[in-house]
Each structure stands twice: as structure tokens, then as C-alpha cells.
């Protein structure tokens, strides 16, 4: 059996008295696409941020390519981060920079590539997500939400990452743009040959972009399996979630 791309072992994280992750165990195989589903405030974002080192877990271990990255810092952390690309929920584009510099950011700042060469790559990547060259010189604030998502996607894949994270990729988009983004995610991930981890509560999107689905509830993974089996999970929590029923075992958290 090959080394998992990402492995979480007993990851726990709490904020003050609130336990958000209560021992998350998760394995993501190379070149697979896993989607974590779960309601708002169940710790999906915290899981992703823990892997990225933006948050530090209180307990547990996170392995990337078999290397323990739970407690590394500084240059070693930057080195590991070069494997990652991420599409943020709100795009998180740098509004002080034009579109092409956003896309080329990781190449210029992270890898010290020359600006001219980085710009050419940025324009290629923008073309991959269906944006023309003239968009490259606009400011992110001039773009619609869907276009910002595309630019965010181009930025995430700019440095040909081995692992790409998608945080609520379709939230806040109209159904057509959501479908376009789903298609782009599937094609770009395949194209780069990357491992993908997404979090969403949009079941249409989850079904489209995943090979495997895991459900996070109460700080634990309560079910996981191939996407095709989600309708026969036999798990009342999963049943309630995927059918969007108000009645069921899941109690909605009030606080984030």
C-alpha cells in the first residue's frame, strides 16, 4: 500500500471551552478527491486550516507524504506549503495587486521566479480557467464573484501543487456558475494530477467533484465512503444531511 498523501491521526482542537475537533482521523490517498461535508460550524474549516498550519492542533498528528508536519515552522513550513494550493471561500484575492500578479504570487514571492516569466505562466493558467488575457490586468475588485472564484482557482493551481484544497467552492454562486466551477475543479485537478480535499455543504457539488465523501459531525468523522455509496450509508446523520431535512438527529450549533 502506498503512503497516504495526507493523514490525520486523532487531531483535536478547541477554542476556549468549545471543542471543535474531537479526534479526527482521516486518510487521503494520492490523486484522489475527498470531500468533507458537514453543517456550518462543525469544524470543516478548522480541519483544513490545521493541515495548512494556519491553526495548530492541540493534540494529534498530521502527516503529509508520511512526514510529520504538525509542529514544523519557518523555512521547513514554507517548503511543505509549496506542495499546497488553496481556493478560498471568498476568493481571498489580494486587492492591492492586479489579477495576473495574484495568480503569479506564489511563483514570484514563494519561489523567486522573475516577474516576466511568472506573468506568462499566470496568463496560461487564467486561460485554463476560461479567462482571457485582458482580465489579467484588471483589479480583483472589478470582477464578479464567479470571476473572482476563477482567478482564485488559477492562483491555486499556478505553481502546479500536489495537493489542492477547496473551501466551499460553490457557496454564493448561481447554479450555472457553480456548475462551471465544479467542472473546472474536476478538470484542473485531473490535469495537474493533484490530490484534492474540499469542504462543502453543497451536495450537488460534493457529488460532482469527489471520489470519496467524509462527514464531519460533533468534531469527529462519523461516516466515510465512496461517493456512490452516500445514498446507502445507513447512517441517520448522513441521511438527514444529504436530504436537507430539518428533522433528525443533527442539532444545529448556534455559535460558530
Amino acid at each position: 500500500m502506498s503512503t497516504p498523501k495526507i493523514q490525520l491521526i486523532g487531531v483535536k482542537k478547541r477554542f476556549g471551552a468549545k471543542v471543535v475537533l474531537d479526534g479526527v482521523d482521516l486518510t487521503i490517498e494520492p490523486r484522489s478527491s475527498l470531500v468533507i461535508i458537514g453543517g456550518s460550524g462543525t469544524g470543516k474549516s478548522v480541519t483544513i486550516k490545521s493541515i495548512l498550519g494556519i491553526l495548530r492542533p492541540d493534540e494529534g498528528t498530521i502527516l503529509v507524504d508520511g512526514e510529520d508536519i504538525t509542529h514544523i515552522n519557518g523555512g521547513a513550513r514554507d517548503k511543505v506549503m509549496e506542495k499546497f494550493g488553496m481556493l478560498f471561500q471568498g476568493g481571498a484575492l489580494f486587492d492591492s495587486l492586479p489579477v495576473w500578479e495574484n495568480v503569479a504570487f506564489g511563483l514570484i514571492q514563494g519561489r523567486g521566479m522573475g516577474r516576466k516569466q511568472a506573468r506568462d505562466i499566470a496568463i496560461q493558467k487564467l486561460a485554463k480557467v476560461g479567462l482571457t488575457e485582458d482580465v489579467a490586468f484588471l483589479s480583483p475588485a472589478e470582477l464578479s464573484g464567479g470571476m473572482q472564484k476563477r482567478v482564485g482557482l488559477a492562483r491555486a493551481i499556478a505553481a502546479d501543487p500536489e495537493i489542492i484544497f477547496f473551501d466551499e467552492p460553490t457557496t454564493g454562486l448561481d447554479p450555472i456558475m457553480a456548475d462551471i466551477i465544479n467542472h473546472l475543479i474536476v478538470s484542473t485537478v485531473k490535469d495537474v494530477g493533484a490530490t484534492a480535499l474540499s469542504i462543502t455543504h453543497d451536495m450537488v457539488s460534493a457529488r460532482k467533484i469527489s471520489d470519496k465523501i467524509a462527514m464531519l459531525y460533533g468534531g469527529k468523522i462519523i461516516w466515510q465512503g465512496p461517493t456512490g455509496e452516500i445514498d446507502n450509508s445507513g447512517n441517520p446523520y448522513v441521511e438527514q444531511f444529504i436530504h436537507g431535512r430539518a428533522e433528525g438527529p443533527i442539532k444545529m450549533a448556534v455559535k460558530a
Binding site: 498550519g53 478560498f88 523567486g112
Partner: protein, 246 residues
């Protein structure tokens, strides 16, 4: 308890900023950009406030000195007060309002829109990319701004004294130049560099620690201005005591 936690967090933040300051990469391009924003664009506001400060100082000393026949001391007191105290402090407070607020609001917005997290995922250290250029630019620009403000402050005192209080221009200037020591000026410039550090550091710190949405950014901005203003005045006392320790 929360106050202690704040001090601890600020100390850690400062240590991280200083460590990032001395390790590569150094973003020269960003430093120059920040020098433009922090230094060059602050010239009008620093110049104007310095001019009026020098002017009002001349007027007050003339009126106060008049009570015991010492009104001729105006040029000496103006130059001493402006170079040692008012130049750096007024410039510091103006920068706290203009630059500290802008830094906190910009970084705070970047924080709440996940742009700072995005930097991390792009293998870029946010402290190096955002904090270091602002601190370096502020520490370089503040003494320059203060030197210019000092000159304009003295000019303010000169204008009021010559055109309003009946001083002779050449005598006023001679008294100013003869009385001012280089110590007076350098002490003021050292203070200015420290104030620049305080403003940029607290602007960044409050921005990085802003939470929630628009309101959180608003709070961060207020805190940046208030805390750096207070710290400037406190540091001013400490620095004066140290620099003029006899």
C-alpha cells in the same frame, strides 16, 4: 488577566517581527512602496501641524515671558521645544492617526477576508511580507519627517515673531542657530525613529488580531491609534529621561 495576555501576545508579535527583520528575503520593492505611503504622503499633514505648533509656541512664550520681561527668549525656547519635544511628538501623533489607522484597517481587512491565510498557502510568511516593510519604512521615514517638521516649526515661530511680535529676522535666526545644539536635534530624531516603530508595530499587531467583520476592523483601527498614541507619550518620557540623563 486579559491585559497580561495582550502584553504577552504583543511581546511575541514583536519578537517574531524582529526575527523576520533580520532574515531573508527582504522585500525592497515593498519597503519603497511603504516609504512612499508612510513618508511622502504624510509630508503635508506633518508640515502644517509643525508650522502652527511653532507659531503658537512663539506667541505663548512671548505672552508668558512678557510677565517678567523675558519676551526676547522666544527663538531659543521655540527651537529647543520644537527639536527636542514637539517636532517628534506631533509628527508621531499625526503618523499614528494617518498611518497607524491605515495599516490596521488594511491588514485587518486582509485578515477577515482570509488574504493573510492565503499568503501562508502561497509559501509567503505574512510577517515578512506585511509587517517588516511597514516597520522598516516607518523607522526610516519618521526621522526624515521630523527633521522637515522641525525646520517648518522653527519657521512658524519665526513668521509669527517677525511679522506679529516685532522681532528682527536676522537676530531671531542668529539666536536660534547659536542656541540649538546638535544633541537637541539628534535626540528628537532618535525619538522619532522609536515612535515610527511603535506606530507601525501596533498598526500591524491590531490588524493581525482583528476578528469578525467590519466592526472588528473598526475596533482594530481605533485600538491601533489609541494604543500607539499613548505609547508614544509614555516612550517620550522614558526616552527623554534616558537621553538627557546627567
Amino acid at each position: 488577566m486579559t491585559a497580561l495576555a495582550h502584553i504577552g501576545r504583543l511581546a511575541l508579535f514583536t519578537a517574531r517581527a524582529l526575527a523576520a527583520l533580520v532574515s531573508p528575503p527582504i522585500y525592497t520593492r515593498l519597503i519603497l512602496g511603504q516609504m512612499m505611503r508612510i513618508g511622502y504622503y504624510s509630508l503635508p499633514v506633518v508640515g502644517l501641524t509643525a508650522f502652527f505648533t511653532g507659531g503658537v509656541l512663539a506667541l505663548q512664550i512671548y505672552l508668558g515671558g512678557n510677565r517678567f520681561g523675558a519676551e526676547s527668549i522666544v527663538p531659543q525656547v521655540v527651537v529647543l521645544a520644537v527639536t527636542r519635544e514637539l517636532g517628534p511628538v506631533i509628527a508621531g501623533l499625526m503618523i499614528a492617526g494617518r498611518v497607524g489607522a491605515a495599516i490596521a484597517a488594511e491588514i485587518g481587512t486582509m485578515k477577515v477576508t482570509e488574504q493573510i491565510d492565503a499568503l501562508t498557502t502561497l509559501a509567503t510568511n505574512p510577517t515578512k511580507y506585511l509587517v517588516v516593510p511597514r516597520i522598516v519604512a516607518a523607522v526610516i521615514c519618521m526621522p526624515i519627517l521630523t527633521a522637515i517638521g522641525d525646520s517648518i516649526g522653527v519657521l512658524g515661530g519665526y513668521v509669527v515673531s517677525v511679522y506679529n511680535l516685532g522681532f528682527t529676522g536676522s537676530v531671531y535666526l542668529k539666536n536660534t542657530v547659536d542656541f540649538a545644539h546638535s544633541d537637541d536635534i539628534t535626540s528628537g530624531l532618535i525619538k522619532a525613529a522609536v515612535f515610527g516603530f511603535i506606530v507601525a508595530l501596533l498598526g500591524c499587531y491590531n490588524g493581525f488580531n482583528s476578528k469578525g467583520g467590519a466592526q472588528g476592523v473598526g475596533n482594530a483601527t481605533t485600538n491601533a491609534v489609541v494604543s500607539s498614541s499613548i505609547l508614544i507619550l509614555a516612550a517620550d518620557y522614558v526616552l527623554t529621561a534616558l537621553l538627557f540623563h546627567k
